[in-house]
Amino acid sequence: MTDIIAHLKQGSETAFKELVAQWKGMVYNTALGILQNEADAEDVSQEVFMQVFESIGTFKGESQISTWLYRITVTKCLDFLRKKTRKKRWGKVYSLFGQNNELVIDPPEFHHPGVELANKERAQLLFKAIARLPDSQKAAFVLNKLEGLSSKEIAGIMDASVSAVEGLLHRAKQNLRDQLEDYYRNEE
């Protein structure tokens, strides 16, 4: 991997292609878990690799390349969500004044392509609840559940202590439990 980085720093396109081939799944899967939209996840994944291409010179190799990529991905995804919220907010304001700005409406259902068929409905419900979590809880939960990362690895990515990440995960699970409990209570 250090070879790829060294070649990439020299501007090698082959090295960049190799890096993208190796990590695109990880980046895309994380983005998809957080954004819950395939087009947005692809868009952000491209942005992640564009940033890698542009700022590879600043990568000192102190952390693993996967940690660096995860960090860029999470930051880009959360920025994307904030921009989307801002657009929605302004869309509402504009619509009050009669302009033709369409309100950005989220697709109602999200199916993760990697989930087993038997779990599809439950996973859909869980993703709906994940979408309502605060940003940091959402990122930590997705990294833990979808990417199978430990609290220590997530702490490295989110630049936080292990105990802080454990707290985030605990609160995320509690929030999800509360939402699911509301859903199942009112189901019938």
Binding site: A21, V115, L126, L176, L180
Partner: protein, 114 residues
């Protein structure tokens, strides 16, 4: 209405529904699309960046608070003090005297003595 135990089971099963999920992969030709995008990438427009910064709620509310604070300070600084009131009264008296503002018609004008 479901029993408490059933609900608990449902929640646990839903929370573990992502266990063993396969990693999602982007569509085919991802690298080709990425290359095309890198080729047409332009540096972010300065206006876009500026609007992005000022549209943040924290920046917008801080700016609003700052404007209100400056307004408040200016208002407080211009409140009439005793000294200002006195100056204004003197000024008014001088103008009344100089321009005969108390006269309401032409005939009351005093002709300067010759």
């Amino acid at each position: 209405m479901k029993a408490r135990r059933d609900i608990e089971q449902e929640i646990n099963r839903t929370l573990s529904s992502l266990d063993g999920a396969q990693r999602a992969e982007p569509g085919d030709f991802f690298f080709t699309r990425l290359q095309a995008r890198l080729g047409r990438a332009e540096p972010a427009d300065a206006w876009e960046r500026f609007i992005g910064v000022i549209a943040r709620p924290s920046v917008a509310f801080t700016a609003l608070a700052l404007i209100l604070a400056v307004n408040g300070v200016m208002f407080a600084m211009n409140l009439p003090t005793a000294e200002r009131k006195e100056q204004a009264a003197l000024q008014q008296a001088f103008q009344d005297d100089e321009y005969q503002l108390s006269l309401t018609n032409f005939y009351e004008l005093e002709k300067p003595e010759q």
